[in-house]
C-alpha cells in the first residue's frame, strides 16, 4: 500500500470524494424517484422526502466540487480547467474524464434549474429534471472507467450495489403508476390517518352538552 505523502494527498482526496459523490448521487436519485412516486420512508412524513432529496442534492454538490477541485489541483496528472466542463478535451484519459465533464454539466443544469424553479415554467423544469436519469449512469461509468479502485475489491461491490439500488428504484418507479387517488380526496385521506381519535368532534375540555 502506498503511503499518503504531500504529493499523493490530493490524489487520494480526489478519489475519496469521488466515491462519496457516487454514494450521495445514488441516494439523490433514489430519493428523487421516491418523491416522484409519492413513496414513503420509515419515520419520515411524506412531504419531508422532498426536503431530504433537496438537502442531499446540495450536499453532493459540495463533494463533487471537492472531487473536481482536487483532481485539477493534483500535480501528478495535469487536467486543464477547461476539461472540467468541456467533454473529451483532457490530455489524461480523455474519454473517461470526458464522461465526468458530461455528468458535471448535467448535474449543474439540474441544480441551477431547481434553484430557479419558482422563476421558470414548470414544464421546462420538469423536462430538464429528466436529465437526472442520464447524469447518474454517466457519472458511474466515469468513475468505473477512470478509476481502477472501483473495478476491484470492496469498492467494486459498492459500485455494483449502487447500480443495483438505482436499477431497483427505477424498476419500482415503472411498476408504481402515478398516484391513483383523485385530487379532491388526497388531503382527506392524509387527514384521516393523522387526526387523533375523537376529532374533529373535538375531544375537548368542555362537556358535550354545551356544543351546539
Amino acid at each position: 500500500m502506498t503511503a499518503i505523502t504531500q504529493s499523493t494527498a490530493l490524489w487520494y482526496a480526489s478519489r475519496a470524494t469521488g466515491v462519496v459523490s457516487l454514494l450521495l448521487l445514488t441516494l439523490v436519485v433514489i430519493l428523487g424517484i421516491a418523491v416522484n412516486r409519492q413513496g414513503r420512508l420509515p419515520g419520515l412524513p411524506a412531504f419531508a422526502v422532498t426536503g431530504l432529496h433537496r438537502s442531499v442534492s446540495l450536499l453532493s454538490v459540495l463533494f463533487i466540487a471537492a472531487h473536481v477541485a482536487t483532481a485539477v489541483m493534483d500535480p501528478y496528472v495535469s487536467i486543464r480547467a477547461a476539461a472540467v466542463v468541456i467533454p473529451f478535451v483532457s490530455a489524461y484519459q480523455p474519454f473517461w474524464l470526458g464522461l465526468g465533464a458530461v455528468a458535471l454539466d448535467l448535474i449543474a443544469a439540474l441544480i441551477l434549474t431547481s434553484l430557479a424553479r419558482a422563476r421558470m415554467p414548470r414544464r421546462a423544469w420538469r423536462g430538464i429534471h429528466w436529465l437526472a436519469y442520464a447524469a447518474w449512469p454517466v457519472a458511474l461509468i466515469h468513475g468505473v472507467g477512470a478509476s481502477p479502485d472501483l473495478r476491484s475489491g470492496g469498492l467494486r461491490l459498492l459500485a455494483i450495489g449502487c447500480a443495483m439500488a438505482v436499477g431497483g428504484a427505477g424498476l419500482w418507479r415503472l411498476t408504481q403508476r402515478a398516484r391513483e387517488m383523485p385530487r379532491a380526496e388526497r388531503a382527506a385521506a392524509v387527514l384521516a390517518v393523522n387526526e387523533p381519535p375523537g376529532s374533529p368532534a373535538r375531544p375537548s375540555f368542555v362537556p358535550d352538552r354545551e356544543a351546539r
Binding site: 412531504f47 388531503a187 393523522n194 375537548s204
Partner: protein
C-alpha cells in the same frame, strides 16, 4: 407614523344584511360629495343603475385608454383581494402585450370569514361594472368577465344589472358572468383563469402568471371587485381625492368584514390606517387579522395598532382582504385555529405533495394540541413541518396556512402550556370563526 392616526374617527358605513334579495328601490338620488363611505351607498338598499348614475354620473370610458393607468399609479391603489399588489403595475403589464387581453373581476370570495365582496356586489354592482369597463378600456381589451360564487340570486341580480346597462348603452365591452365553485382557492388568480376557460378552478404553477398567459393563454387582468370599484371612483374624482383618505403609504378606503366577540358580523368601509380598536369592540384575548391566511395578534397589542400593512407586516400579519375577528373571552384560540386549519387542509387542491400531505398532518397535530394533555413534543414537530411545506406549492395556500399556525403557536403559547397540564381557558366549545358546511368530494366540486 401616519396622518390618519390623529384624524377624528372615520365614519363607518355599516351594512350587515345585504346578502338577501333586496328590492330595487334605492336611496334618494343624491350626488356623491366626496366623503365616506365611498363605495357603499349611504342609505339602506342597493344602488340600481338610475341611483348609481345620479350619484356618480357615467364612467369616463373615452378617457380611460389615455390617462387611467397613470392616474391609478398616482393614486397608489393596491389590490383589495388580499395581496395589496399595486394595481397600475398589473394594468401596465397586461396592456404591454400585443395579443388581445381579457379582464376579469374577481368576486369569488373563497375566504369564509369575508363577505365584503358579496356585500359590494349586492350594494353597488354598477361601481364594480364601471370599473370593469374602465379597466377593459385602459388596457384595450374586448373581453370582460365577472367571476362570482355560484349563488343563484346574486347571479340574477348581477345579470339584471348587466342587462340594464346594455339597455342604457353604457358599456363598450360585453360582460360574461362566470360561476365560481365554493372552494377556498377558487379565487386564486391561476385557478380563476382555468375556471374562466371552462376547466376546474385549480391553481397552477407560476410562471407564467395570468397577466402573461391567463384565460385561453391570453394576457389576463384579474382584479378583485372592490379594486375595480375603487378604480371607478379614481377615474371620476382623481388621485388626489383618493389620497384624501387613508395613509400616505396606503391611501384610500377599504371594505372590511368585522367579527365582533359577541358574534355580530358586519361589513364596513373604513380608511386604511384606522385604529383596530375603532373597528372591533375590545378587549379580546386575541384578534385574527387578515382572515384564514392571516395571523393572530394578542388582543392588547391589536388595540394599539392601525389597520395598515406598515404596522402589521413587521408582526407577520397583513391587512389582507380586510377580515378582523375578536376572539370571545370564553373560547379557546387553539381550538378555533385547529378547526380552521383542518378546513384549510381539506381545501388543498391535492396537487402538490407538500400541501396535501403536510397540511393535514399539521391539522392533525393541532387537533391534538387543542385537546387535553397533548404530547409536548408535537409542538416542535408542527414548527418543523411548517418549514417543510412553506413555499412548496403551486400557489400560496401552504404559506398562508403556515402563517396562521405559527401565529397561533406564538400568541397562544401560554394556553398550550395549560393544555399540556390538562386545563383550558375556554369555557365554551361553540364554534366562533365561520366555516362552510360542504367540502370538496370529487373533481366536479372544483367546477
Amino acid at each position: 407614523m401616519t396622518s390618519s392616526m390623529t384624524r377624528p374617527l372615520p365614519s363607518l358605513a355599516r351594512h350587515s344584511g345585504w346578502d338577501r334579495d333586496e328590492p330595487l328601490a334605492g336611496p334618494a338620488e343624491t350626488r356623491y360629495l366626496g366623503g365616506m363611505p365611498r363605495l357603499l351607498p349611504p342609505g339602506p338598499g342597493p344602488s340600481g343603475l338610475r341611483t348609481h348614475l345620479a350619484r356618480f354620473g357615467a364612467p369616463p370610458l373615452d378617457w380611460a385608454g389615455r390617462g387611467l393607468v397613470a392616474e391609478v399609479q398616482a393614486a397608489g391603489l393596491t389590490g383589495r383581494g388580499g395581496a395589496a399588489f399595486p394595481t397600475y403595475r398589473k394594468l401596465a403589464a397586461v396592456a404591454g402585450y400585443r395579443r388581445p387581453a381579457v379582464v376579469i373581476g374577481n368576486g369569488a370570495e373563497g375566504e369564509p370569514a369575508s363577505s365584503k365582496d358579496k356585500t359590494l356586489l349586492w350594494a353597488a354592482p354598477h361601481l364594480v361594472l364601471d370599473g370593469l369597463q374602465l379597466a377593459a378600456c385602459a388596457i384595450g381589451s374586448g373581453t370582460a368577465g365577472l367571476y362570482v360564487h355560484r349563488d343563484q340570486r346574486l347571479h340574477q341580480w348581477l345579470a339584471a344589472s348587466i342587462a340594464e346597462r346594455a339597455t342604457a348603452g353604457l358599456d363598450l365591452v360585453p360582460v360574461e358572468l362566470i360561476a365560481a365553485p365554493a372552494r377556498f382557492l377558487a379565487g386564486e388568480e391561476s385557478a380563476l383563469a382555468s375556471r374562466a376557460a371552462g376547466g376546474p378552478a385549480l391553481p397552477r404553477f407560476k410562471p407564467p402568471r395570468a397577466s402573461e398567459r391567463g384565460v385561453a393563454d391570453r394576457p389576463t387582468l384579474v382584479q378583485n371587485v372592490e379594486t375595480l370599484a375603487q378604480l371607478a371612483l379614481i377615474a371620476r374624482y382623481g388621485a388626489a381625492w383618493f389620497r384624501s383618505a387613508g395613509t400616505t403609504d396606503e391611501p384610500g378606503s377599504m371594505l372590511a368584514t368585522l367579527h365582533q366577540a359577541d358574534g355580530q358580523v358586519m361589513v364596513v368601509e373604513t380608511e386604511l390606517g384606522t385604529p383596530i380598536r375603532d373597528l372591533l369592540r375590545l378587549p379580546a384575548p386575541a384578534v385574527l387579522v387578515g382572515g384564514y391566511h392571516g395571523a393572530w395578534i394578542p388582543g392588547e397589542l391589536a388595540g394599539r395598532l392601525p389597520l395598515a400593512n406598515a404596522a402589521l407586516r413587521p408582526l407577520g400579519a397583513a391587512v389582507g382582504a380586510g377580515v378582523l375577528a375578536a376572539l370571545p373571552a370564553d373560547r379557546c384560540g387553539l381550538a378555533e385555529t385547529a378547526r380552521v386549519v383542518r378546513y384549510l387542509a381539506l381545501e388543498s387542491a391535492g396537487q402538490c405533495g407538500p400541501c396535501f400531505n403536510g397540511l393535514p398532518r399539521i391539522a392533525g397535530a393541532l387537533a391534538e394540541l387543542a385537546s387535553p394533555w397533548p404530547r409536548p413534543e408535537i409542538i416542535a414537530d408542527v414548527r418543523r413541518w411548517c418549514g417543510l411545506v412553506e413555499g412548496r406549492g403551486a400557489c400560496r395556500h401552504p404559506d398562508g396556512t403556515v402563517r396562521l399556525v405559527r401565529s397561533a403557536l406564538e400568541v397562544f403559547a401560554a394556553e398550550l402550556d395549560q393544555h399540556i397540564l390538562g386545563r383550558c381557558a375556554g369555557s365554551s366549545n361553540r364554534p366562533f370563526l365561520p366555516l362552510p358546511p360542504d367540502l370538496a368530494l370529487d373533481e366536479a366540486d372544483w367546477r
